[in-house]
Amino acid sequence: MSNLSFARRATWGVALAIGIASTWPLMAKAQTPNRGGTLVVGSTQTPRHVNGAVQSGIATAMPSTQIFASPLRFDDKWNPQPYLAESWKLAEDGKSLTLNLRKNAVFHDGKPITSADVAFSIMAIKANHPFQTMLGPVEKVETPDPYTAIIRMNAPHPAIVLAMSPALCPILPKHIYDDGKDLKSHPRNSTDVVGSGPFRLTEFQAGRRVVMERFDKFFLPGKPYLDKVIMNITPDAASLVLGLERGDIQMLPFVTLPTNLKRLQTDPKIDLKAKGYDGIGAMNWLAFNLTKKPLSDVQVRKAIATAIDKKFITKALMGGFATEANGPIVAGSPLSSKDVTLYPFDLKKAAAMLDAAGYKANADGERFKLTIDYLPNVDDQQRNVAEYIRGQLKKVGIAVEVRASADFPSWAKRMASKDFDMGMDLVFNWGDPIIGVHRTYLSTNIKPIVWTNTQSYNNPKVDELLNTAGGLLDPTKRKAYYATFEKIVTDELPIVFINQVPYHTASSKKLANVPNTIWGPLSPYDEVYFK
């Protein structure tokens, strides 16, 4: 059906192929990042200052990871990548980590970044950072030459590699901070900050905004692409969503409210992604105070777990944006296990379990009373679920009083002083179980402060599993230990795990390379640019 001879068609075909092949590199190059622009990031959390070496939490980590660099950074598959250290090696026995630093890195005041600064920073973090288990076994940091740092530990500690993340290991200038002043209240923590990262701090307006500008001599050539990053602090999430829709803000991380998520999902100018929060590993759960009767009876706890319909919570209460959590380690972690004890929703079974445990209902249908507390200001994750649980437990004869706390310190006081029966909580895994998971289950961590073992859970086998797993270098062995741990904890139920917190990052479609590694918004924005 063709008028052209075969030869001619073939020639045209080849010419076309060559033409396309020769322009392919051009087409691929068309994606080179544009330099310039101001990125406004919205946040409801107020940072106290920008020094992430002495302060943990997402509020500080967002600006701290822009201003300070760390030895390593992570991709979206939990693989460490070079950052300030161009190469590194964890020793065979797991008791030392050698970092080989770049030779061209300088601080914001022009002075070179050397191993002395790395050594100072790591020991400062060990002394001041609230997460004491992160660098627990670290004894000292040797500096055989200005660009080599060797971290020496008294026991194998595989978590040390993750502890080199931007959010957890900012490298501070020794010549500024090593002056004998207490680092936690150092005057250079929010004014005249000299950092090591892609952006310099130019303005810190307490409780309002943090303004950072490109550092021209950043050690990654050509980066950062953005001129400025402004962190805009507004306690009202609805206001931030409005700002995003109007274009005043271009990036809004940590969105969980289903009404906001639905709205942003349908907005053609906005990208909504759930990726980037595996490292933080945030979970929503119901904790039991095991010192109180009848919660000390595991059958009662199992019955309560059986009366909770997690499908309803994730699909109806959270708009389908959340996924169920069934164990102490978040599903996105390479160490999580699926072999856990589950409690399929069954109201009849729950009632039967309570009967069998000896808690018969009285004439009004009530077996016993319990109170439930919840974290304020996170209603979609906490209060709504607490109210739902009250309704469910009423159906099996448990009268529940939901106690509201006026603000965070009031709630914290209650949990810390063990003045609670059941308490809703929102807790982060923080990447390696040593940092965020062990603290909840170790019997040695039963302390009068929040985010410790406030449940008073005590199982020597679990203590042994956790303490051993923390020092296992072989990832397969480590995973097996944590699997056993997860099985035991879900069987003994000091906590009913409800859902993974559905954090999302909403960003303007004009923004490229929106951070989506395991640390998401808590990583440097040096590769972000406007299309």
Binding site: P130, A206, P409, R439
Partner: protein, 323 residues
């Protein structure tokens, strides 16, 4: 004269002192303390670190000792350091005073000028359509809660009719500077918050002005003025108004404290970077020095405003003598 001035000063001081002591007790009565907030912001903290912080902040001393320490500090003019930010409280307050001052003065001026104007207008024809309309409007304005009005305006101007900014004092990427462009930017952002804050008082003043005007318009000297052949405008604005203003000025001065309190709500709804928001957030954080500093400052302002009202009163009505 001097004696009364000194006695006023002493009264003012005593009031401020009482406010500080009362606030101190109240603020410490709330459960939880700043160290727990800091531990919360840190996602967890070791008990040793928390104990260290408590000692550092003097929180482990008995309450009366803490009060004594604070009062002696304030007497020296030192408002202390914020527990949360580790920045001097006086600096943080100074940074935010202009914003609150701008908001409150604008709101009061708006309420006064527009409110009185409306009241006077409606007094011309007490049973006319305009008067009835204004009565209803002022009732609504008076009854509607400030935060509800604020939120409704945010929704209206953010989504439905986006002609005005609804958050903050400046555009997000503005660098301030105080130049002409900056002033226009701030003015645009000021419109909604000032209007919201003024609404309740606008309603009040309009009713007050209207009834005061009607009262005055019935008196003898007005009849004389009319008999003399003066135009209605001159009668209203030159003779009657000055007398009708008295009640409005009184109420304005007395209510200044309320306006300052209302500013907290407006600042929160519109994300206005003023003292109100600082006070509110500091309470949630149990940041004692900041809370007490802001409350001290506010009480001083209110006491001063009351004195100013007294003086203004004297200026408007020469009949009032020093007692």
């Amino acid at each position: 004269m001097l004696r009364s001035l000194i006695s006023r000063l002493l009264q003012g001081l005593a009031l401020v002192l009482a406010v500080v002591v009362l606030n101190f007790i109240l603020v410490h009565a709330a459960p939880g303390d700043p160290v727990e907030t800091i531990a919360g912001a840190s996602g967890g903290m070791s008990p040793e670190l928390m104990a260290q912080l408590r000692t550092q902040y003097g929180l482990d001393k008995p309450l009366p000792v803490q009060l004594g320490v604070y009062l002696s500090q304030v007497a020296r003019g030192d408002l202390g350091f914020s527990y949360f930010f580790n920045l001097p409280v006086s600096e943080m307050i100074a940074e935010r005073v202009p914003a609150t001052l701008l908001l409150v003065v604008s709101a009061v001026l708006l309420a006064f000028v527009v409110g009185t104007g409306i009241g006077v207008l409606s007094a011309r024809k007490p049973n006319g359509l305009l008067s009835q309309f204004i009565t209803v409007l002022s009732l609504v304005g008076f009854a509607a809660p400030i935060f509800w009005v604020g939120i409704m305006l945010v929704i209206l101007f953010a989504s439905i009719w986006p002609i005005l900014p609804v958050a903050g004092m400046r555009s997000i990427d503005s660098s301030g500077g105080g130049g002409w462009a900056d002033m226009v930017d701030v003015a645009q952002h000021l419109i909604l918050p000032a209007f919201t804050l003024s609404l309740v008082y606008l309603a009040q003043y309009s009713r007050l002005a209207r009834s005061a005007m009607l009262d005055v318009l019935g008196s003898d000297f007005i009849r004389t003025a009319r008999a003399k052949g003066l135009t209605e405008s001159v009668v209203l604005y030159k003779h009657a108004l000055r007398n009708a203003l008295l009640p409005v000025v009184t109420v304005l001065g007395l209510q200044f404290g309320n306006v300052l309190a209302g500013a907290i709500l407006v600042e929160t709804v519109f994300n206005w970077p003023g003292l109100g928001r600082l006070a509110f957030e500091s309470v949630l954080r149990r940041d004692y020095p900041t809370i007490l500093g802001v409350l001290l400052f506010s009480s001083i302002v209110v006491v001063v405003m009351n004195q100013v009202t007294d003086l203004a009163y004297r200026l408007i009505d020469p009949r009032i003598k020093t007692s």
